[in-house]
Amino acid sequence: MPIQVLTIARFALLEALRTRLPLLAAGAFAFVWAGSLFIHQIAITESDRMQWSFYAAGSRLASVVMLALYITSSMVREFTEKGLDLLLALDLPRSNYILGKLGGFIGVAVLLALLAAAPMVSSIPLPVCLVWAAALFFELAIVAALSLFCIVTLSQVMPAVVLVLAFYLLARSITAVRLLSETALLGELSEARPLLAFGVDALAAVVPALDRFAVTGWIAERAVDANVLGPIALQSAIFVALLLAAALFDFYRKEL
């Protein structure tokens, strides 16, 4: 890997540390934890189960939102402050810039996943916490690549973040949407049903099923088979590569 990629990745990670992202993330997770403590206090049974499943679901969502906002705003600042123009005026291929940035953001994803899992270590078995954190990292890696692609394409924070969150919600519910399209819950659709089923199947082919990633049930049941990580890692690698290719395609077409 060219040294330039590693340098850009290092500076992307440094930027996250110096803009106090870890502190902000710790604050957000502490807020979610406080909410989970409230749940623990009002529950009359299974208090621990409810507390940690609420925390796991809340911190997962908070990590995704923080990462998407951080990446889009950081990239936009680089666009507007002309730092990007300066970098590309050097002898630096555009692909190295994108690769480096993605590397740095994936480093941020590792940090967020570990921070999110840390409070659970006191109550949940360590192997379960580690598998959950690893699955969350793979999910965040996809969110990082998606945010990078959206900001390179759209260049503005608002539309990019909305697109990332909409895609994320779709990916989290795609399995449910597929099941729904096959049941009678949607009412009488007659000839439209095969069309709907085909449309949903086509959508499911291009959207990763994120509902299989950091499953809250693992935390609630305090048990998980580490083998689940294999397909998750593979899905994450494939989709990150796809998003990276798409971001590069758009970035090479961009006129600075």
């Binding site: 009002i42 009359i44 299974e46 189960r49 989290r172 449910a176 729904l180 819950l185 809250t216 609630a220």
Partner: protein, 240 residues
Amino acid sequence: MARGAVRPRVPRAVVAGVIVCALLQIVFSLAQPKPLARASELDPPPSGPALALMQGFEPLPFAHLLTLYLQSFDNQPGISIPYRDLNYERVAQWLLTALRLDPTSQYPLLMATQLYAQVPDPARSRYMLELAYRQFLADPNRRWRWLAHGAIMAKHRLKDLPLALKYAGAIAERSPEAPAWARQMHIFLLEDMGELDSARILLGGLLAGGQVSDAHERILLLESLERIKAAENSAGATKK
């Protein structure tokens, strides 16, 4: 501030505007009617596509939120609704929805038997115990404790020994992982009902079958068997 620099002044119109607007806000708030505590009906739980999406998106936290919402529904702002005034069919729908989202949770059945079945209205208590019984049948090894509680309630509060026997018999029949006291409950209920013959046969079978390994438990059951036999003999002597 540097010496001689002119301190920027806020125009008087702006200051006046702030004061007037603040006063307007206070007057507007005071003019609003006081909030009245009003009990609202329990709405139906999420169903259809909404429930399917919850199931696919994040079932456990949604199940927990549903149970906590239901649990706190009797305490609405400024008003407390007695359980007996709740629509029990609706409550049952909420409990079943929560169970559907999180089938391993004990919470909904605890609420059914320990909260909603405790009202001083036998019909409503029976309704909730029946719900616990039906859900017990779906997962007897995990949900036996709520039926055991139901059997005790049926015996002591509802004074309905056949109902208690039905619940206790179901535990004995379907919950091999339940502790011995729960699986033996139906024998003592039979004794209470005067069905001494059946109780003696079941107890004798239990002891002869080798299912009881604990020495203390064996002694206790043998004593019970002797007591039943003595009661049978004295009943027989009275008849003669």
